[in-house]
């Protein structure tokens, strides 16, 4: 029946075709850069999956993408464009790592949750600033979160670089002390870096899905996302919903941050984060803001991120190539018209999904 066919088209086919087109564009760039696309891509694939430990490494980089992708997606569902996931990731790492190195000698079952809570709280609070600014003053979240990203980097570098604050004693690199052994997330595969955080990220998917689709919070959030006036007239507090949504989004981003610390880095340095938070926007778009869709999208981005360095090693094609692939993929996802036109799909789904195409409210800034 037409309903699920449309769904198949918009939720599966278009993203799939988009990814293929994305790689095609990337191939053009590779040729222009005087390399062989086939070699480059097979190296990319090997580096992402088949090499020794590559799959594990891919899953390691998939982990933050899942959590951050969910963070951005949940914002989209409420009509909020959280570009601040990067900063929330960072503040989450800060607050989480602080707890994780401050507490000592407790069992992991205690320390890990404590650190996680701290990280998620940090991210949530940081994100709610943007939420509150929008709820109270109508300041557009896109701009405020962009600005808050930079503020968060500087806050972090201040805390981590300043003796007496979070700077570890007698280390040659500016960084926080290492987290307590108890707070380290156990490895899943010995000899690899794949850690329990990956499982936590997997668990987050159904939880977020349930939250959005099955709970009153999610209902409120979607109603506000679709039509603030109707929601308000039905007695929902739009302002509170916006702040809550940003807080949830920030909590997920913060979780991504602290999981990265507890599972991968074990301390925090003053260098600006990996840019996961920005890629996550692409992940959420590719997933069409559907929590389940976030999984494959995150896996793709994890694979790209992880395979890139091997590709560069083997073919000398700059790892920046994946940025071209990612950007192109988003273009095709966000403008299904192109895909439809390319493949003469009759009735190409031009209906708006999440934020990719819609009548966004004018910033009331």
């Amino acid at each position: 029946m037409a309903g699920w066919r449309r769904w198949l088209l918009s939720a599966v086919l278009v993203p799939l075709v988009s990814v293929i087109c994305g790689f095609a564009v990337g191939a053009i760039a590779i040729v222009a850069a005087g390399a062989d696309p086939l070699m480059a891509y097979s190296a990319l694939f090997a580096g992402a999956f088949t090499n020794h430990n590559a799959l594990a490494e891919t899953l390691v980089s998939t982990t933050p993408y899942v959590l951050l992708g969910l963070a951005v997606a949940i914002g989209f569902r409420a009509g909020l464009f959280n570009i601040g996931a990067e900063g929330q990731f960072y503040i989450g790492s800060l607050s989480g790592v602080f707890v994780a190195y401050s507490i000592r000698g407790l069992p992991g079952i205690v320390e890990v949750p404590l650190a996680m809570i701290a990280g998620m709280l940090g991210g949530a609070l940081w994100a709610s600033i943007a939420g509150a600014l929008k709820a109270r003053f109508g300041a557009h979240e896109v701009i405020t979160t962009i600005m808050l990203n930079y503020v968060s980097f500087l806050v972090a570098s201040y805390l981590v670089d300043t003796p007496g604050l979070m700077l570890a004693r007698n280390v040659s690199t500016p960084r926080t002390p290492d987290i307590d052994a108890g707070a380290v997330l156990p490895n899943l595969i010995p000899g690899s870096r794949l850690h329990l955080g990956f499982v936590l990220a997997l668990l987050a998917v159904p939880i977020v899905w349930f939250l959005i689709e099955r709970t009153t919070i999610g209902f409120r959030l979607r109603a506000v996302g679709f039509n603030q006036n109707a929601a308000r007239a039905a007695g929902m507090s739009v302002g509170r919903t916006i702040v809550l949504t940003m807080a949830l989004s920030g909590a997920l981003a913060g979780a991504a941050g602290i999981v990265q610390i507890l599972g991968v880095n074990f301390h925090m340095t003053d260098t600006v984060a990996a840019g996961y938070g920005f890629d996550a926007i692409a992940v959420a778009l590719l997933a069409r803001s559907n929590p389940w869709g976030v999984l494959p999208a995150a896996l793709l981005f994890g694979a790209l991120h992880n395979g890139a360095s091997f590709m560069q090693l083997e073919t000398q094609v700059s790892a920046d190539l994946i940025s071209i692939v990612q950007a192109s993929v988003i273009i095709f996802v966000a403008a299904p018209a192109i895909v439809g036109w390319l493949f003469r799909l009759r009735r190409a789904p031009t209906e708006t999904v999440a934020i990719t195409q819609r009548e966004v409210d004018a910033p009331t800034t």
Binding site: T215, T216, N227, A230, A233, A234
Partner: protein
Amino acid sequence: MRANDGVDLDVSWRQVHALLGENGAGKSTLMNIVYGLLRPDSGEILFDGKPVDLHSPLDAIRLGIGMVHQHFMLIPPLTVAENIVLGHEVANRGVMDLTESSHKVEQLSERFGLQVDPRERIAELSVGLQQRVEILKALYRGARLLILDEPTAVLTPQEIEGLFTIVRALVAEGKAVIFITHKLAEVSEVADVITVMRRGRVVGTTTPKESKSADLARMMVGRTVLLRVEKSPAKPGAQVLKVDNLVVLDDRRHVAVDNLSLDVRVGEIFGVAGVEGNGQNELIDALMGLRSIRAGKVQVDGREISNLSTHARLKGGLGLIPPDRHRMGVVLELSVADNLVLDDFDHPPFARWLVRQFNAIRDYAVKLIKTFDIRLQSPDQPVGSLSGGNQQKLVVARQLGTLPKLLIAGQPTRGVDVGSIEFIHRQIVSERDRGLAVLLVSSELDEVLSLSDRIGVLYRGRIVAVLDAEGADRDRIGLLMAGAS
């Protein structure tokens, strides 16, 4: 869906051609096509006998077609002059000549007796003045055929009179005017020719001489309108709503509701009559807690509610039918069932511990859909796919379903077909008989007259008179609505 279906329309010079039809009949759609904003799927348009192909408003303007839109097309932060010359600016080598623009505008307003200050910002102007600017805009572009889409909806009777004189002057100049409305009285007053539309089709063309209002009404709605909903006289009980000296500001921070006082009692329908834009929306918003009040008291059952949240008010027994369905009434993207529980989705039986109970919601929805005769395929289909009438029935069902003690009904039948109108009216009356207190706010005087037990006339944000609906004099109310004391 077809907004216009096989429409034939014939307009000649030196004529006021009235286009009559109820809300949603397709009048604006047709005119937007004539003005090049919409493209017809089939059919042709002849202008001065020549077939014309209108791709954009620019083509229409070039031909000398001007349109004053139902919703004004003015740019608030720009000045009157800038708005008028926009697109046909007075300039040398691309540089605006603002003094010359203002000068031209002044000349124009002299000529047609449409006084406005070219340097004023649109945001500062009253609705009536804004309409003048719209007309000047069209004339400035040398319009010979002027389309006025429901120009009177937002005007006071005096302003309406003023408008009519202008219209006659224009026709005298040899121009043609298409005058869209669904108010019968106006038609007989200005129109030379009348075309009636219903559900996107032309049902007939006639003249004021040939057909009287009643006939027109029949053409408009397909059969005789029952001017009165048959209802037993009200048995008013205790006072439910009491409003004292309420003051509310509009978005432009001007006083919209001005020292308004009224009260509604159990088992009565209190109708607020008034021309659109006299503070109706602000009043409703304030009563529902959607807009902060400047001064005054709002009491329900003697309890002050002025600083309760909308949520608390709904829980406290208030119900709202918002004046603007698509803006405030429904969430088009959500399912019918979801919309039916939009205002109490978060407590038993519809939710337990934050978890929504879909069986309960569905059962409830099915029940309401049946009682309120909402036509649809499934409770799970998005509301956007319902017709307006059914969307409106859904809103009514949601509100009456929660068995409120006070219903605030804003324009409860706007843009709705006659069948639905009758249905909704009957529902409201029967709820009244079960003891519901109703505050009806409508700019359709006939609706107010036929439904209300008591009528308050709203003018410039004040209730200027309260009278008993029994034997209320239509013309007197009309005068009061116009501000005549």
